[in-house]
C-alpha cells in the first residue's frame, strides 16, 4: 500500500492545494474523520471546521465553511465552498462568517412557512461557526 495519496483542495474560485498527503482530518457532516491512503471510497458533506493535512513536507491547516469531500483509495478531493489557510484566518473574518450564519438563522426562524429542520440546520451552522472560533483560540 502506498503511504501517500493525491490530495486536492479546490474552491469555486481557485485550487488551493494539490499535493501527496499521508493523512487528512476533515470535519465531516457526521463527525470528524481522518482519511489515510487506502480508505474506503466515501462521499461526505462537510460542516464548518478545520481541515488538517499531513503530508511528508509537514502539516497545513485550512478553515472550510462547508462543501463536500470525495475519497477514493488513492486520491481525495475536497470541494470547499470557501477555504482559507488557518494562518490567514483572523477574528474579524470569523466574525463576518458568524454574522452571516446568524442572519441566516434569524431569517429561517422568521419565515413562517420554513420547515423546522431548516431552522435547526441554520442553528447548527451558527453553533459550528462559534465552536470554530473557540477551536482556533482567537
Amino acid at each position: 500500500m502506498a503511504d501517500t495519496m493525491q490530495f486536492d483542495l479546490v474552491s469555486p474560485e481557485r485550487r488551493l492545494a494539490s499535493l501527496p498527503v499521508s493523512a487528512v482530518r476533515l470535519p465531516g457532516a457526521e463527525g470528524e474523520m481522518t482519511a489515510m491512503p487506502g480508505h474506503a471510497p466515501v462521499i461526505t458533506t462537510l460542516r464548518p471546521g478545520v481541515l488538517r493535512i499531513e503530508s511528508p513536507e509537514g502539516t497545513s491547516e485550512f478553515v472550510v465553511t462547508g462543501g463536500f469531500a470525495e475519497l477514493g483509495g488513492e486520491s481525495m478531493s475536497v470541494l470547499a465552498e470557501k477555504a482559507v489557510p488557518l494562518s490567514e484566518m483572523t477574528r474579524a473574518h470569523l466574525d463576518e462568517l458568524i454574522e452571516d450564519a446568524r442572519t441566516a438563522h434569524e431569517a429561517a426562524k422568521a419565515a413562517p412557512e420554513v420547515e423546522q429542520n431548516l431552522v435547526d440546520e441554520a442553528a447548527k451552522l451558527l453553533a459550528d461557526m462559534e465552536a470554530l472560533g473557540d477551536h482556533m483560540s482567537l
Binding site: D8, V10, S11, P12, E13, R14, R15, G28, A29, E30, A40, P41, V42, I43, T44, T45, F68, E70, G72, S77, L79, E81, K82
Partner: protein, 291 residues
C-alpha cells in the same frame, strides 16, 4: 472636394480615434489574461463537482424521491431564461450574439404556447432584447459595480433563481452565455440548469462502491442548489473571458481600419496639396508668358 484644412482635420480626428481603440485593445488584452486565468482556476472545481453530481444523479435520479431540482416539476410549461451579457459595449458581436440566441429561443417557446420569463444579467443584453421581448422581463441583476467576479456574485443570482423556483414560478431554467473558445471564437451557448442535466460518464466508474455520509438523498439535496451556483459561476467566468476576447479582436479591427483610413486620407491630402502647387505654378508661368 474637401479643402486641405478639412482633410487635415479628418486625419487628426481619425488618428485620435485610433489611439483610443488601440488603448482599449491593450486594456482588453490585459483583462483577457486575468479573465482566462480565473476561468481556468475555477475549472477543477466545476469538473470534480459535475463528476460527483453525475454519479449521484445516476444512482438516485430515477426514483420518485429525487429532489425537484433534478427531476423537474413534471411539466415544462413555464420557462425561465437567464440571459447573461456584458455591462459594456464596444465588443463586437458579443452582446448581440447572445441576445439573438436568447430572443430566438424565447420566440420559439412562445410559438409552442409556453410561458417565458426572462431574467437578465448585464445591461447590454437587456437593452438589446427589450424591444422584442421586454414584456417578459421578470428581473435584472446589475453587475456593473463588480470589479472582479467572485463566487458570491454567482450565489446571489443562484439564490434569486432558486427562490422563484421554490415558489413554483417556473419549471425549466436555461442560462445563455458565451463560451470562450479562443480570442477570435466565442460560441453563444444555451445551457439548461433546472432540472439539472449532467453529462454521465461513459462507463460507470467505481460509483457503486462509494459510501455516502449522510445518505445519498441528503447529499444530493444539499449539493443541487450549489450546482446551480456553480453552473452560473462558470458561465459568468466564461462570459467574462469571451467579452474581453471579443472586445480585443473588435478593437484590433478598429485600429487597423483607422490606420487604413489615415493612409487613404493622407494620400488624398498630398494629392490636393500638389494640385494646389501645380495650379499656382501654372498661374505664375502663364502670367509671365502674357507679359
Amino acid at each position: 472636394m474637401p479643402s486641405l484644412k478639412d482633410l487635415k482635420n479628418r486625419i487628426e480626428s481619425v488618428k485620435s480615434t485610433r489611439k483610443i481603440t488601440k488603448a482599449m485593445q491593450m486594456v482588453a488584452a490585459a483583462k483577457l489574461r486575468r479573465a482566462q486565468e480565473s476561468a481556468e482556476e475555477a475549472r477543477p472545481y466545476a469538473e470534480r463537482f459535475n463528476a460527483v453530481m453525475a454519479d449521484l444523479a445516476a444512482s438516485v435520479g430515477g426514483s420518485d424521491s429525487a429532489p425537484k431540482l433534478l427531476r423537474g416539476t413534471g411539466s415544462d410549461q413555464v420557462h425561465l431564461l437567464v440571459v447573461m451579457t456584458a455591462e459594456r459595449g464596444l465588443c463586437g458581436g458579443f452582446n448581440s450574439n447572445i441576445a439573438k440566441l436568447a430572443r430566438n429561443h424565447a420566440q420559439r417557446l412562445q410559438a409552442e404556447g409556453k410561458t417565458v420569463k426572462i431574467l437578465t444579467v448585464g445591461k447590454k443584453g437587456r437593452d438589446a432584447i427589450k424591444r422584442d421581448v421586454g414584456e417578459l422581463f421578470v428581473g435584472h441583476v446589475d453587475l456593473s459595480n463588480v470589479k472582479r467576479l467572485s463566487y458570491a456574485d454567482a450565489q446571489g443570482i443562484a439564490k434569486q433563481v432558486l427562490t422563484s423556483f421554490d415558489a413554483g414560478e417556473f419549471d425549466v431554467a436555461t442560462i445563455f452565455y458565451s463560451k470562450f473558445v479562443n480570442v477570435v471564437t466565442q460560441v453563444p451557448t444555451a445551457q439548461q440548469i433546472i432540472p439539472a442535466k449532467f453529462e454521465t460518464a461513459e462507463e460507470p466508474s467505481a460509483t457503486a462502491l462509494y459510501d455516502y455520509e449522510p445518505s445519498e438523498e441528503a447529499i444530493l439535496a444539499e449539493l443541487l442548489p450549489k450546482g446551480v451556483a456553480t453552473a452560473i459561476f462558470s458561465a459568468l467566468l466564461e462570459n467574462g473571458a469571451s467579452e474581453q476576447g471579443a472586445r480585443m479582436s473588435a478593437m484590433d479591427n478598429a485600429t487597423r481600419n483607422a490606420g487604413d483610413m489615415i493612409d487613404k486620407l493622407t494620400i488624398e491630402y498630398n494629392r490636393s496639396r500638389q494640385a494646389v502647387i501645380t495650379n499656382e505654378l501654372i498661374e505664375i508661368i502663364s502670367g509671365a508668358e502674357a507679359l
